[in-house]
Symmetry: C2
Amino acid sequence: MTPSSESFTPINQIGEFGLIDRLRDVLAAASDTPEALIQGIGDDAAVYRVGDGRVHVVTTDALVEGVHFDRTFTPMRYLGWKAVATNVSDVVAMNAQPRYATVALALPNSVSVEQAEALYGGMAEACQRYGLSVVGGDVTAAARLTLSVTVIGEAEESAVVYRRGAQVGDLLCVTGDLGSAAAGLKVLLAGKQGFEAGGDGESEAAAQPNLTDFAYAVERQLYPQARLDRIRHWAEVGVRPRALIDISDGLASEVHHLANASGHGAVIEAGLLPIHVQTFKAAERFEEAPLSLALYGGEDYELLFAIPESEKDKMDANTFAVVGQVVEADAGVTLRMPEGEVIPLEARGFDHFG
Amino acid sequence: MTPSSESFTPINQIGEFGLIDRLRDVLAAASDTPEALIQGIGDDAAVYRVGDGRVHVVTTDALVEGVHFDRTFTPMRYLGWKAVATNVSDVVAMNAQPRYATVALALPNSVSVEQAEALYGGMAEACQRYGLSVVGGDVTAAARLTLSVTVIGEAEESAVVYRRGAQVGDLLCVTGDLGSAAAGLKVLLAGKQGFEAGGDGESEAAAQPNLTDFAYAVERQLYPQARLDRIRHWAEVGVRPRALIDISDGLASEVHHLANASGHGAVIEAGLLPIHVQTFKAAERFEEAPLSLALYGGEDYELLFAIPESEKDKMDANTFAVVGQVVEADAGVTLRMPEGEVIPLEARGFDHFG
């Protein structure tokens, strides 16, 4: 082995995506691409042929205490659910069916056997809902609770949809609403601060949002739903999007990924974004723009997809919203405000090292 | 969702294997076994059919800073290598070829971009050596460096070897030597203590083992080799063991797993265990029994396998050692000392919550 470099570049200097690019280069320099591998790093999941015209897809996501979740307001069952659902979302974003999962769980001493069982109970519930099985895992001690889940899915090779593939003129569509999961997180964090501040109960009650006023948003944050229902609907009505990605880091970031991978630009219509009434209420309460939550909020786990206009009417109109269009690369990625002004749409999403 | 239980049972009260059993029960209660799944939790890797008479196997292992490794004496390249090699070892222990890997990496701020690249460089090196590719991953921030790797392998369904399947009278064999990785860890830990103690250099030098005297043992600890060479040799000479497991937690623990899964007992001959001269030296230095390192040391990543006596001469005699025999279940799992005394062999291995 060769010794490692002596330089020290802090990770936040190049950011999460910059780091991922550099690590991908290290791997690419070292190995040949196996013949059966269709897609490696760079989409929602990797894709490889398994025979009989079928492919498997595989994806991994880690949830780290203090980074992705706060144990003070995240019940263990929800955490287990979310760890599975977010990985299922990546499989769904390849237009594939989830089949198997493995789990690497690192547990601090402060977690009891019963809490670990509740965590696994939530994973089991998500597995039942989405039709997959946990087939392996590793349990170890750690200072912070960390949960890494890998999900393997299956599809006909011809059914898989990548981030690339959108064509100029295609409609950009999203499922569900945007920004409510981020609104829910703000509500939970404010509730925690109010609780920690203590006080006489009067001023405290004024500072703390009423959770029941934001029940939908809180549920979107703690109990996200992978959009397996949508890709099943597409299969039923014979629609296959040209490009597809799940919305985990916020719409703005995902539009850039889809447009870049497809070699085109995109325009998003601010006035067409589906925003829930509780997201508006939370935005008002926390003095944020609702549009900002919808574009940069993250953790919605909805789908962004591109289809030719001719395909639009095949789908149930209640299952998606048109939010923009694919345009020439020269035009870049932009946001058109309801008043008509067109501004560049920043790729800004959530950066764990920011 | 239902609320979780109010009881608090500390994990170390039931231990790592006890916890795994309880978590497996939670999962089993919730889901049907998919038709294509041949082996779920309970062997070195899960096994599922992918078509054309072939199966895939999948396994996950996490390495957590402060639990599995100490950054003060673990170079990043070695850590990356080990994370891949230990998972490859589990794939090999199913008699399958490694193909794809995913990586979930959680990085503290104290790790630089260059160190992360060195870590990935070690993973890339292991991937080249063992013929697999990293196809996906997740990079996130964390308080402690945590590295979860999942490896997917491939085999003919008829070639796969499980822990179960050993028959009474079969020879129990191991590859390589036992206990040297644990000896290497003791050397590294003693070196660190001596360094931290500081001093005038005289008494310090006396306390610190000379690393070059223990180069082999240290390399076994930092740079373990998955035994892909051995299963390739078996394929060449037409040998398929009846039962197979990799030795990650120490021979004693693995013999119990293999014997229990096969429904039999086993006797291990203490006088036949392959122990390296540096393991004897380390045992003397740290006042431990060499036999104890060989039986309970862990992290050897060698293979334990059962074959009928008639198969023995097909294999190159330099590639394995016979260390015992499969016996009736009534006889339990025992250790025969060189003087002839037979004592029960404890299942004791490494327990992260112990």
